[in-house]
């Protein structure tokens, strides 16, 4: 338990400081949101129907930003070696890193998502649902992102590779998350879409640590 706390503290401190922190991700997301009206025109009749979808796309892209930091730097500077010789199995290390990633960027992004959606013309009564869906989806982004970051380990300049590996895995949460909001905006019941989103996130939480740890062992040998 002490080891979990120690590693979690380090990961959180690394994620909050030293570039790629929550402010960067939120700033990036708001920039993307600001670009859409410039590209598609400022007509609310065009923007409002796309608000939920656009904010989820911005959320997914902003979640990519600091993934390279997750394992690549630990591999480059040798820290991964003594992480592997510590008391916890690599699977637990991957899970702890993913949870820290969620706390450091996923939750701040979940707070920024309603702002982005509101700015694009989403109805104001959906603020709470937008933040909730973004928080659940963010957990899925963090775990699938950790898997992608582990798979891209060892490839020089793996940042772009991570994006290509991870974005397809981000599609289901985007579909379910944005679907829940669109349905709620149309007066329907968002619960089934939220349930599917949660199911995907649970699936990612189970699979990503095991597969990620295998990829790390491969990169280390």
């Amino acid at each position: 338990m002490r080891a979990v706390r120690v590693l979690f503290g380090r990961e959180l401190s690394l994620a909050w400081g030293g570039g790629g922190g929550p402010l960067l991700a939120c700033g990036f997301m708001l920039c993307l949101t600001a670009i859409l009206p410039l590209a598609a025109g400022g007509d609310p009749r065009v923007l409002a129907p796309a608000a939920s979808g656009a904010s989820w796309m911005a959320l997914a892209l902003a979640s990519l930003l600091s993934l390279e930091r997750l394992f690549e730097r630990d591999l480059e500077d040798g820290a991964l070696d003594f992480l592997a010789l510590g008391p916890l199995p690599l699977e637990a290390t991957v899970a702890i890193k993913a949870v820290a990633q969620w706390l450091a960027t996923g939750l701040p992004l979940a707070l920024a998502a309603p702002v982005a959606a509101l700015a694009l013309g989403q109805p104001a009564h959906l603020i709470g649902l937008t933040a909730l869906a973004a928080a659940i989806g963010g957990l899925g982004f963090a775990f699938t992102g950790a898997l992608g970051a582990a798979l891209a380990l060892g490839a020089k300049r793996g940042g772009l590779l991570i994006a290509v590996v991870v974005l397809p895995l981000f599609i289901p949460p985007v579909v379910f998350g944005a679907g829940a909001l669109t349905r709620a905006a149309g007066g329907g019941d968002p619960l089934s879409a939220l349930a599917l989103l949660s199911a995907y996130v649970l699936f990612a939480i189970v699979i990503a640590p095991v597969a990620g740890a295998a990829a790390i062992r491969n990169a280390q040998s």
Binding site: R10, G18, D77, G78, D81, F82, L83, L85, G86, R217
Partner: protein, 210 residues
């Protein structure tokens, strides 16, 4: 506690290239083995295989310990997680964190205790360095921080890769004393070196490129 490591008929290769075949070595409490050989002979790979990072082509690495004179056979992964230190070329320090943050994390993660931590800080004179960001440390200072980790989190087997290379005369002498103290308490050292180790050691030559 880990009391012996036995390597039997070990074969290692990197990619297509076979590094060595049929290597056997037994390391018991209080012993040092110095691995020598040309660049690329497989010294670092052997250390990483003992740490469990590289899967051998053939042969076995077994750990034994526990109560009794020779102890009993231990699960390899448990032994590696509890009793092995690996000091490689890379120090594993994050440039923007202070030496204190990194040292405290490494010590706690590897199972250190506060008494040993204080001893390590005193022996390696780390106090003036601890509040600096690690990017401001010289190569020798970083190596002192890594040596301190070996003292602060006591583990029986030290796998050292060129441990003295960045150190000056004064700190080489200190490192020699630390190694002697480690061996006196039943520790073991397997070190890849080009220069002779400052403690009496058995030599194992891996030869040149095969």
């Amino acid at each position: 506690m880990l009391k012996a490591v036995e390597i039997r008929n070990l074969s290692l290769s990197r990619g297509e290239r076979v590094l060595f075949q049929g290597l056997s070595l037994r390391l018991s409490a209080g012993e040092v083995v110095a691995l020598t050989g040309a660049n690329g002979a497989g010294k670092t790979s052997l250390l990483r295989a003992v740490a469990g990072f590289i899967r051998p082509d053939a042969g076995a690495i077994t750990f034994s310990g526990g109560p009794g004179a020779d102890g009993e056979s231990l699960d390899a992964e448990t032994a590696q997680r509890e009793s092995v230190h690996l000091l490689g070329h890379l120090e594993g320090l994050k440039p923007t964190r202070t030496a204190r943050q990194e040292f405290d994390f490494q010590t706690a993660w590897l199972g250190g205790n506060t008494v040993a931590r204080e001893v390590a800080i005193a022996r390696l004179s780390l106090s003036p360095l601890l509040d600096l960001e690690t990017r401001k440390l010289s190569a020798g200072q970083k190596r002192r921080l890594s040596l301190a980790r070996l003292i602060a989190a006591p583990r029986a087997l030290w796998l050292l890769d060129e441990p003295l290379a960045p150190l000056d005369e004064r700190w080489r002498a200190v490192a020699a004393e630390l190694m002697e103290a480690h061996l006196a308490t039943g520790g073991m050292i397997l070190a890849a070196v080009h220069d002779p180790l400052p403690v009496p050691a058995r030599n194992l030559d891996l030869g040149g490129l095969s």
